[in-house]
Amino acid sequence: MTVLNFINFYIVPGLVLGSIYAVGAIGITMVFGIMRFAHLAHGDMATMGAFFALAAIGLFGVSPWMALPIAMIMAAVLAVGIDRVFYDYLRERPKILTVMASLGLALMLRSAVQVIWGVDPVTYVRGIVRPDSYFGILLRPRELYTLLSLIVIVVALTLFLKTSKWGKAMRAMSDNPDLALLSGVDNRMVTILTWSIVGALCAAAGFMLGINTELNSMMGWHLLLPMFAAAILGGVGRVEGAVLGGFIVGLVEELSVLVLPGQYKAATAFVILLLILLVRPRGLLNGKVL
């Protein structure tokens, strides 16, 4: 196998899959860090976001990549609403109850998708797209856009978190909630901001998976384990860690077919998760442990 073939068959798909996991894992890590619980409905929220984009394409007749921002806004509103109705009243009770509520919500979101859009797989666009060659490296436009979107999302989010007032407030809540509240950080506003960012990221992850493969009601649920593996591998609460973790999990999954039967690709994320919890629960970039 030549180096180019290796890159085209394993590294490129791994990086594309990794970007999808990374976008999802950033959301997981933000909920884990700021709201302090494992959000089990994250995958199904991504499914919902992917179908929002489908609805936007159908309603407004826009191209898929133009539908993405619309879907992100819709998912942000949905996430804030879900927090208001289903998570917020559990705030004072043990956090594990919120985890339970989020498991119930995963089921609700999924069945809502199944009722509205059915269970048969669909795609955003029909037809086969030929990849373009960049010095021998074959990339389809959608794969290129997926990687570019990840870069845009990470740069925008990092700038927001590092420089803006509300971004700093969110980081403060993540580092030490008591101290942050004492210094006058508005808890409600931080919660709303966090959930709208998380909802938008869910939609982006779901959309990226949908445009690179297909849409179905279980797509998000199958993202859940790799996204958690990526978030914990990178270190809970660390955005750059989630990106690093996402790429590692994506690449390992694609490379695993060299040694494992293909149907066990999905198992690698679980193995990574257990290994990192066993040897370094704080993650590669020294995150939090709950």
Partner: protein
């Protein structure tokens, strides 16, 4: 005739309720008593089901098996296998908050689903395992069903009495202490992690037993027999609605939820086909919503935990 049909159906329902009651009791040990979040109940159930099925079923070409072991050996092995798989998970995840256990148990259920689907030589792949013997299976239909119901009821009763005894013993008190205030229990010299591991493995063993009871009742098993997420979720809502921490509540919850679930299924099956499929998912949505409503309006369930003391109001010294 109609009446006999109805009575037969009631017996059939009784057996399934018994199996769910076992699962609900098992979850009560893990969640109600210890506060451990198992989101992969269906995985441990399937581990038990397949273990017992492989050990007791007759030989089929192309699949490991034909051990033709006695059914009781199958049941014991089902419990043992579920415990063995629970051990490493507990070992790795119970050092942290239960969130990590929730994720890892989802993983166990998913991985086991993959194994069942793809390892033809072990599990028969999508064809599954058939010809699994059933205790009292040679009797005529009605007697056989009744005998199996008796067997399931005995199993539930034994597990209920065992867990109830555990709850009232010093062990149960210690477990509640760990659940309610981990730091102070640790300060009293209790080995929090080891105790949690015990409870997790104990619960998993009973989930494995429930799987074995199900597979011998059904006489066959395929990967599609149980939807992992829905089965797991039904058991959660059974326990939460019935009253977590209360064994009678766990059994009551199993009865109530299973009746709602299967009666609503009968109703939706009568709808025209176009709507019937959608109605199926509406039912799932409603089960999810029900959990939210119970968590919000009656978090202690129908039968609240008995031993729990009311919290002392701040500023007053406990006598």
């Amino acid at each position: 005739m109609e009446l006999i049909g109805l009575a037969n159906y009631a017996v059939f329902m009784g057996i399934l309720i018994g199996i769910y009651a076992l699962l609900s009791l098992a979850l009560n040990i893990q969640w109600g008593l210890t506060g451990l979040f198992n989101a992969g109940i269906a995985g441990f159930f399937a581990i038990g089901a397949y273990t017992s099925a492989i050990l007791t079923s007759p030989h089929v070409a192309g699949r490991v098996g034909g051990f033709d072991m006695p059914i009781l050996v199958g049941w014991a092995a089902a419990m043992l296998m579920a415990t063995l798989i629970a051990w490493p998970i507990a070992r790795i995840c119970l050092r942290f908050r239960s969130d990590y256990l929730a994720i890892a148990t989802i993983g166990v259920a998913e991985i086991f689903r993959l194994i069942i689907k793809s390892e033809d030589w072990l599990t028969g792949g999508s064809r599954g395992i058939t010809g699994i013997p059933r205790p009292f299976g040679d009797l005529p239909y009605v007697q056989s069903q009744l005998a199996y119901l008796a067997l399931v009821v005995i199993a539930v009763l034994v597990v209920y009495l065992l867990v109830e005894r555990q709850l009232r013993s010093p062990w149960g008190r210690m477990m509640r202490a760990i659940r309610d205030n981990e730091a102070s229990a640790a300060a009293m010299g209790k080995n929090v992690e080891a105790r949690r591991r015990q409870a997790f493995m104990f619960g998993s063993a009973i989930m494995g037993l429930a799987g074995a009871l199900f597979v011998h009742f059904n006489r066959s098993i395929t990967p599609e027999a149980i939807d992992p997420m829905i089965a797991t979720f039904l058991i959660w809502i059974m326990l939460i609605l019935g009253g977590s921490g209360n064994n009678r509540g766990a059994i009551l919850g199993a009865i109530v939820i299973w009746l709602i679930w299967s009666i609503s299924e009968m109703l939706t099956d009568r709808l025209p086909t176009e709507v019937a499929i959608q109605a199926k998912y509406v039912r799932i949505f409603i089960i999810g919503l029900m959990l939210q409503l119970v968590l919000r309006f009656r978090p202690e369930g129908i039968l609240p935990e008995e031993h729990k003391k009311k919290p002392v109001p701040p500023g007053r010294v406990q006598p």
